[in-house]
């Protein structure tokens, strides 16, 4: 059947920091442009999860009077602490220069996005929440001409239900893809336009975050603590963060590189047991966990940034991969990329050309690229293990100052797993329900929901692989890397997929050893409903 069409000058996919910044910049440059944003979350911020220590550089450029407009940047970053942990000890390390946070703010990125959405709407941007962009539309010349939203009201059996509503085509001169890390449309565009031909594979991490309400006596607004070491072994990339926000709230989080090798490793349980370390346990004892979430992040840096433009559209933000890994920040770069893309898009629209080719040039001339280029060798050096990497990082930052004449390269995360037979099983402690939790009670506080009567949005290319390869060779690692208990081996054995639990982190799409799992968008509005995350 034919779908309804709506026409805009620009359609933005995703109401995260990059998409919102792009939309705002478009309207600032050309107020009469019609711009809409599609957001799969039930509201702006519902799917946003970030640390976050926020560097306001891009925001200063985008909305210079953000303070007067009441942007939710409340808690100024104060003291930075950096530790190496053993099981029982914490050794203070000098804070590396990229991790100095003077002038930054500890924020909820979700709340910043909620505020940015209000700014965008005030400029006339249409924001449609609860609608997932499920499909890229092409015109006869193969140029992108917009996106289509997914059908609503399709039952588990794939047939329309009583509430069936077909998707709508949003056609636009320029489509700005701002899906966040590992976007599902981005993946299609990579293939269609061969956008990754000249870059390294992307490499990823999975980031966990919990929000806690702590004893006011233990609360130090502005305090920032990062750790490396325990509970991870030195071969695995990762570490923790702990930020003291306003209102007695403390953020506790953990990142594990998805290039880990041991299939028995469970990033979720590494995070849970991290909280029992003597450095952190006293802070959380007697405190209350308020929320939980997880999300993949792009860690490839400059050498993994793909071609950013194609006829009819551009990629912005973390779906392209602008995270500054040593700085542990990507929101300011995401916003900056959105703004630069918007400028190039306006130029292309004015010139009547289909591709915003000046976007990569603008990017290369901006502070964003200088930042990423300087630190490009830090993350790859971790392939040597923790200590050599730290030594190299110090050498690269202090001696070479990012001007190394070489660039180290990445390998994709999904080929890094070793067979279970060649790996050491890890025994994780049972959750105590106070400091540490299981996956399902964690998903519970992420307010995750999907309409139950819909086809699974987690698709298997080949349904035999989960048992024939994943279980046999790797002891079904999806049971462990999924932070939401979506995957479980049940009697048969077969792979059970509890798609309703999915918190949209995309780890399965990234880490599945044979890339057999495809993460597609579910019915719009599904997924977590993160508050203050």
């Amino acid at each position: 059947m034919t779908r309804e069409q709506m026409a805009f000058d620009c359609v933005v996919v995703g109401a995260g920091p990059s998409g919102l910044a792009a939309a705002i910049r478009l309207k600032q440059l050309k107020p009469d442009l019609s711009v809409c944003i599609l957001e799969k979350g039930s509201e702006v911020g519902a799917h946003i999860l970030s640390g976050a220590v926020f560097e306001p550089r891009a925001l200063n450029e985008l909305v210079p009077d953000w303070k007067a407009r009441g942007a939710p940047l409340i808690t100024e970053a104060k003291d930075d602490h950096f530790y190496f942990l053993t099981k029982v000890k914490a050794y203070p390390l000098p804070t590396p220069p990229p991790m100095h946070n003077h002038g930054n703010y500890i924020i909820s990125l979700g709340n910043l996005c909620r505020w940015l959405a209000i700014q965008a709407e005030a400029l006339g941007v249409e924001i449609f929440t609860g609608f997932a962009a499920a499909e890229v539309l092409y015109d006869g010349d193969g140029q992108v001409k917009g996106v289509a939203t997914g059908d609503m009201g399709i039952g588990k059996d794939g047939k329309p239900t009583e509430t069936y509503a077909p998707g709508v085509e949003l056609v636009a001169h320029q489509t700005i893809i701002a899906e966040g890390c590992r976007g599902s449309l981005t993946r299609m565009l990579f293939e269609r336009f061969n956008l990754r031909a000249e870059c390294d594979p992307q490499t990823y991490g999975i980031g966990f975050k919990e929000l806690w309400e702590v004893d006011p006596a233990k609360h130090r607004p502005g305090k920032i603590v990062h750790t490396i070491g325990w509970p991870l072994d030195t071969a695995t990339y990762g570490g923790s963060f702990c930020y003291h926000l306003e209102d007695h709230q403390v953020i506790v989080g953990f990142v594990v590189g998805l290039d880990y090798a041991n299939p028995f490793l469970s990033p979720f349980e590494e995070f849970q047991r991290f909280k029992t370390h003597p450095l952190i346990r006293p802070l959380l004892e007697g405190a209350r966990r308020v929320s939980y979430g997880a999300r993949a992040i792009s860690a490839g840096g400059a050498q993994s940034v793909p071609k950013l433009t194609f006829p009819g559209g551009v990629l912005v933000g973390d779906t392209a991969g602008f995270l500054n890994v040593p700085k542990l920040k990507g929101s300011h770069t995401a916003m900056k990329s959105g703004m630069l893309a918007a400028e190039a898009v306006v130029e292309a629209l004015d010139a009547g050309v289909p591709e915003a080719t000046s976007y990569p040039d603008r990017l290369k001339q901006s502070w964003l690229w200088r930042e990423l280029y300087h630190v490009r060798n830090i993350k790859p050096s971790f392939k040597w293990g923790l200590w050599p990497a730290l030594a190299y990082a110090a050498f690269d930052s202090y001696v070479l100052r990012g001007r190394a004449p070489w660039t180290m390269h990445h390998r994709p995360d999904h080929i890094q797993l070793k067979p279970a037979a060649a790996s050491r099983p890890i025994a994780y402690p049972k959750p105590d329900g106070k400091l540490t939790f299981d996956r399902l009670s964690s998903v519970f506080v992420s307010n995750t929901n999907h309409e139950e009567n819909q086809p699974s949005h987690l698709k298997l290319k080949d349904p035999t692989i989960p048992i024939a390869i994943n279980l046999k060779l790797y002891d079904a690692p999806e049971q462990r890397y999924c932070p939401a208990g979506v995957y479980e081996i049940v009697a048969g054995p077969t792979l059970g997929i509890n798609a309703q639990n999915c918190i949209h982190c995309k780890s399965c799409d990234i880490k599945d050893p044979t890339q057999n799992i495809i993460w597609a968008v579910p019915e719009g509005g599904g997924g977590p409903n993160y508050p203050n995350m």
């Binding site: 049972k430 399902l440 009670s441 998903v443 139950e452």
Partner: protein, 317 residues
Amino acid sequence: MAVLVLAEHDNAGLAAATLSTVTAAVQLASGPVHILVAGRAASVAAAAAARLGGVEKVLLADNAAYEYGFAEPLTALIVGLAEGYEAILAPANTFGKNVLPRVAALLDVAQISDIVAIVSSDTFIRPIYAGNALATVQSKDRRKVITVRTTAFAPATESGEAVTEPVSAAVPVARSRFVGRDVARSERPDLTTARVVVSGGRGLGSKENFQLMEQLADTLGAAIGASRAAVDAGYAPNDAQVGQTGKIVAPELYIAVGISGAIQHLAGMKESKVIVAINKDEEAPIFQIADYSLVGDLFVELPKLCKLLSSSGAVEG
């Protein structure tokens, strides 16, 4: 102060909900408790009301207009009687919820819905947000109109000898007409209102084994629920799902069989009065909230339990 209870009955007898409401009324009253039995040829129900402990007087309003418990004529009747009472109570079920807000509006007072505890003559505890929070509220109105969550109060016993007094009121022009009632929709009670719910989980292992739950339900007159895992595995139909995304139940007795007790399931049944869990995994989270925990093989214990229940002739729900 005097308290009036609006009785739910079927003319031939009192509903169990009325007994619990009387208990709440006795607890609240500093003066006499009266009970209003309004119906058609309801003298038997009125006689039952007269035997309830703590009831001083039964007001019997016998009129065809009250036959089906319609809110409009009942409201007119109660509003006419209200002057003599400081509080008017009814059970918080579909009968009481239908009538009492109408009374409150005409008396120009707030209704306090679904109370689970009485703190003082003007202060009550009631659940909000589907039981995820409890509010303590104080009424500033001189007259209180209250619906009572019946599971929170024990039923009144038959230990009294109240006098019965006929009452009547002008009946408003009937604009509601009774068409029909269908209370025998299925042999099993409705999941959300059943007195006893038995729920099965993935521990049952197959759709065939899930039949065991039917046997258990038969012996107890119970409704059958299921965990999401059991529904996903195809053991039980979708509408049997108890939990966060399924039905929220709070029966007097909840028996969880082969259910591990993920928090999403607990969210749908943790307000049950008595929880029984049967599971072979000693670590199952359901045991952390169960009143009676049976760690064992359900395929051994369940038939034994069914046998004991059927031989004792357990009461019909």
